[in-house]
């Protein structure tokens, strides 16, 4: 049984290159795993939707009835219906980031790290599922808001602005959640960061009222938040073709130009945080 070895030191050329899985198939496989795990835990889909759905179904119509709404051409129910997207997407992404921590502590993350696929794919595969989940929840949310009396102006260009903004904002939020998940050691620390990254921006970014209604300093802070730009874009697409929210940010007179500028801001955040997430995950996964 014994084999002589040590002296086989003669360095030969490496063996034939092993078969490696194509990029598309690798991403599908990693995303498929996340879908299977999420399906096993449907709370991950339902829980982030509860609060925003209440906002759209109950809070917005009630505030509209009590205060008369925004006193403008914009319907308040649909205004808040879109604003609630600013809560559902962050919560969905925070849940998705939490699953990365679970993977690390009691799941198969080390097996995935030993797989012959670039480690960036582990981030991107999960991102694909976070996008799909967010899309589902946003569709349900807007549908509920419409059922409750929200008025949405659906046009091809409007859908493109809405989808573009929601997609890029989801990518940014997932990048942020994944970055935090890679940096913290314990689930408690991660949960502790949730209010700051998921809830606080919701109150500052004009989800429930125009940012111009806040004091100047807070308005200035709001203009730096990607959520502010994403909400203004989504409303420009579905609720407010005049781009009032975009005007509050940029103060210009051409809504299309303002929309492109805001899209560029959200895209820059999305790109930057995806890169940071990949780098942080890769560095954290190799000791």
């Amino acid at each position: 049984m014994a084999t002589t070895v040590a002296d086989q030191a003669a360095r030969a050329q490496p063996a034939a290159a092993p078969q490696q899985i194509p990029t598309g198939r690798a991403l599908r496989t990693i995303a498929g795993r996340r879908v299977a795990l999420t399906a096993h835990n449907p709370r991950q889909i339902a829980v982030p939707l509860v609060g925003p759905a209440l906002l759209a179904l109950v809070v917005a119509p009630a505030l509209k009835a009590a205060t008369g709404g925004l006193n403008s051409h914009i319907d308040y129910t649909s205004f808040v219906g879109v604003g609630a997207v600013g809560l559902v997407v962050p919560l969905t992404c925070i849940f998705a980031g939490l699953s990365v921590l679970v993977d690390r502590h009691s799941g198969a993350q080390r097996e995935l790290l030993a797989a012959p696929v670039p480690r960036a794919f582990l981030v991107l595969g999960n991102l694909i599922v976070a996008i799909a989940l967010s899309a589902l929840q946003v569709a349900v949310l807007i549908g509920l808001s419409a059922v409750r009396g929200g008025h949405f102006h659906i046009t091809g260009a409007g859908v493109a602005w809405f989808v573009g903004a929601a997609l890029l904002f989801t990518i940014f939020m997932y990048g942020l959640a994944e970055t935090i998940a890679s940096r913290v050691a314990k689930q408690e620390d991660y949960i502790g960061a949730t209010p700051a990254v998921a809830v606080l921006p919701f109150f500052l970014a004009g989800a429930l009222f125009p940012i111009a209604a806040m004091p100047g300093a807070l308005t200035a802070i709001a203009k730096a938040l990607p959520l502010t730009h994403a909400l203004a874009l989504m409303r420009y697409g579905f609720v407010d073709p005049h781009g009032t929210g975009l005007h509050d940010i940029w103060g210009a007179h051409n809504p299309a130009t303002e929309a492109w500028l805001s899209l560029a801001v959200v895209a820059a955040y999305a790109l930057a945080f995806t890169a940071i997430a990949v780098r942080t995950f890769t560095r954290a996964s190799v000791k």
Binding site: T3, A9, Q20, L37, N41, A108, E111, A115
Partner: protein, 313 residues
């Protein structure tokens, strides 16, 4: 070309902790190679570097000729690892866990399906394969992890403490399964363990690691031969150093005798146990017990490190 080759492989963690200090070894294709040592010796860090989850501080390593730092994807493609801790998706079925590995390692679906059926049968998990892994016992989960690692037919299989925490019967069954699979598939296996009988039973060669360095590397038989054919254990009442000197003066003990607590362990090279015991009695040495036995790898380790493996582990 070696299946696994490490040259000056070193890992120093931040804070200056030297976990692995310049390991040099080569493992031939088809060989079962054991890394033996207590917890903290550097075995798992070595496996981590070979499987690209720990970055070496210095030195290099290659799997089937693929440098783990320069060509990590290729190195990972030719290897699989069974980790010391459970690394599974508990919410998925056993089959889903194994299929995930097969897909990521590029195994064709049909071949994977046949291989899964074959491995499930060989490892005794066919009946539970479609159950959620969260419901598995420790032994079942460990067998599943071995099946998962083997489904891609790796050229190099890393088993990091594969039987730790399992009860003796399951350990025995698992070792038997690993030995059978090894004989059938002829793959290279790198096994870390602090169970000496595992190393003796499975390994062609063993590297004994102590404090991050290899202190001995040879076949189990050669390592044991270094201790002679028989060991004498003498429990003394007084100063062990004085007793050891006295035994040396009698020509019974040599440089390879060692002390653990009040017990002197003396490899017998040119003396029989009977003659040694007679000499000790005539010398009037104060002893409370004398016995002789065959040497084990435990003794090799004790002689080399002065630490008892089981205690350290």
């Amino acid at each position: 070309m070696p299946a696994v080759e490490a040259l000056g492989l070193t890992k120093t963690y931040s804070g200056g902790v030297e976990a692995v200090k310049g390991l040099d070894f080569a493992v031939a294709p088809g060989e079962v190679f054991g890394l033996l040592g207590p917890n903290g010796a550097g075995k798992s860090t070595t496996i981590g570097m070979l499987t690209t989850t720990i970055a070496p501080t210095a030195g290099s390593a290659a799997l089937a000729g693929f440098d783990v730092a320069v060509q990590p994807l290729k190195a990972r493609a030719v290897s699989s690892v069974v980790f010391q801790e459970p690394v599974v998706d508990r919410g998925l079925s056993g089959r889903a866990n194994v299929e995930l590995h097969a897909k990521l390692w590029g195994t064709e679906p049909r071949a994977a399906s046949e291989r899964i059926a074959e491995l499930a049968l060989a490892l005794g998990i066919a009946d539970i394969l479609d159950r959620e892994v969260g419901s598995y016992s420790g032994g079942q989960r460990r067998r599943l992890e071995i099946a998962r690692a083997l489904v891609s037919r790796p050229r190099v299989l890393f088993l990091d403490e594969p039987t730790v925490g399992l009860d003796p019967r399951i350990r025995f069954e698992l070792l038997d399964a690993i030995a059978s699979l090894r004989e059938r598939d002829g793959m290279t296996i790198v096994l870390t363990t602090h169970y000496l009988e595992e190393a003796q039973r499975l390994c062609d060669r063993v590297a004994i690691i102590h404090a991050g360095a290899i202190v001995a590397l040879d076949t189990p038989a050669a390592l044991l031969a270094g201790l002679g054919g028989e060991l004498l254990e003498v429990r003394v009442d007084g100063d062990t150093a004085v007793a050891l000197d006295a035994l040396g003066a009698l020509g019974i003990s040599a440089h390879d005798a060692y002390v653990v607590g009040q017990t002197l362990t003396i490899p017998l090279h040119d003396t029989s146990a009977g003659d040694a015991i007679t000499a000790i009695s005539q010398a009037g040495l104060s002893t409370s017990a004398i016995s002789s036995r065959q040497p084990t790898l435990d003794d090799v380790y004790l002689r080399l490190t002065g630490t008892e493996l089981a205690v350290a582990a």
